[in-house]
């Protein structure tokens, strides 16, 4: 069987299957990013709290997330919790739990960093104008926090999208897994692996590149 391996992508519904896998990847990433933004905001309140315990919990949480490989966390939730507590969580739910646990801490830390990097004088001159605490946040602090946050948050989003590739290890059929299935079917086509993985690479690029271009555009506009 001679010929370009790329042709197998156009056989039957192979390409559609890949796109289906990509949708699983994206759905997972979108849910995770959405939840991480919401919980990350709450996490930042925890880190900014004056309460010692709240601070300690957030500190510990962040350290765990930083030093523990995501794959280990996935195994703990998917395999460990099932045995330990008798939970029957499917792969995708486990992935959302683990990635949100990770994204929450990192997003929360980014929000904290952006907010606290705004000079204290900004708050004071807004206060001197007679604005209320709420108005100071709404008109002065939050807009500036978002500007500082955007590049880093987008970077985190692309990292989350890329890291979802790990979920194939806990039996979630996302784009990479679909690719491997296709390669498996065409094992007699020696260059199939190259082309399939190359197309997957392109798909990731097409997803992540516009996001980071948007970030660069916003940075330029706000500079």
């Amino acid at each position: 069987m001679q010929g370009l391996g790329i042709n197998i992508l156009f056989k039957g519904i192979n390409f559609q299957r890949l796109l289906g896998g990509l949708w699983v990847t994206l759905r997972l990433a979108l849910i995770t990013i959405g939840l991480s933004c919401v919980f990350g905001f709450l996490f930042s309140l925890l880190t900014l709290s004056k309460n010692r315990w709240a601070k300690a919990v957030s500190r510990l949480w962040l350290e765990i997330v930083r030093f523990m490989p995501q794959l280990v966390l996935l195994y703990i939730v998917y395999f460990g919790f099932a045995r330990l507590f008798g939970w029957d969580v499917d792969g995708e739910t486990s992935a959302v739990i683990v990635f949100t646990f990770w994204g929450t801490a990192e997003m929360g830390d980014l929000i904290r960093g952006s907010l606290t990097s705004i000079p204290r004088h900004q708050t004071e001159s807004a206060a001197a104008l007679g604005l209320t605490q709420g108005q100071i946040y709404l008109h002065v602090l939050i807009p500036q926090t978002l500007r500082r946050l955007t590049p880093q948050a987008i970077n985190l989003c692309t990292r989350i999208i890329k890291t979802t590739a790990l979920v194939k290890m806990i039996n979630v059929t996302e784009v990479l897994k679909v690719g491997q299935q296709i390669i498996g079917q065409f094992y007699r086509q020696p260059d199939a692996a190259f082309w399939v993985y190359f197309v997957i690479f392109l798909l990731y690029f097409l997803v992540c590149w516009p996001i980071s271009a948007l970030s660069r555009m916003l940075e330029k506009r706000w500079a």
């Binding site: 004088h121 004071e124 001159s125 104008l129 007679g130 002065v140």
Partner: protein, 251 residues
Amino acid sequence: MTDAILRVQDIRKSFDGNGVLQGVSLDIREGEVVVIVGPSGCGKSTLLRCINGLEAIDSGEIWLRDEKISGQTKNLHLVRQKIGMVFQSYDLFPHMKVMDNLLLGPTKALNRPRQEAEAEALEMLDRVGLKEKAYVFPRTLSGGQKQRVALVRAMLMKPEILLLDEITAALDPEMVSEVLNVVIDLANSGMTMAIVTHEMRFAEAVADRVVFIEDGLIVEEAPPEVFFHAPSTERAQRFLQSFTYTSRRRP
């Protein structure tokens, strides 16, 4: 003195056991310009920050007309609407154009209609020579221009009194006068002001009264012509001497 609009009565403030203000009393009359001078760390900036409620005082009282403004926490923003303050580092809001910086207070804190406030803002900008900068971002302005915008921003709130905290300390020397001339204009238009500054010539030109603070206490209070030429206390004399130099090429 019954015609004082601001009365500071025996206020004390310490940071970590360090007495920065150790019983300061000061009355400011309507239309009066009081310049506060003194060595670094003497408490003069803290005094302004306490008046505006940015620092809570430990004891004493501060009155604005018939209202006791110290010890308030709930309606502090209402008090601050009547007391303008400009800082050393100008602190325009970098994400807003000059006009939006100017209108934030009038439209959000005072709920004035935007159009009316905008017309007034343009007029004030024109007075300080910055009308053509109304719709640019602050980052395109020089330090002196930023500080003039900050002055206009404070004035648009129509404060009863304006507090200026070393507003030229961060500026290049050639920009100092463009800012201080605006302040002298404000003084001439009858604005009540309390000014902390290191610019002694400006102090002498603008002040109705000079207050010299050292180690958290008012050491001397006098009209500028007296304070700068015949200070009565030895400490004020020593302070003023630090601004003069003797030439090394003496015959």
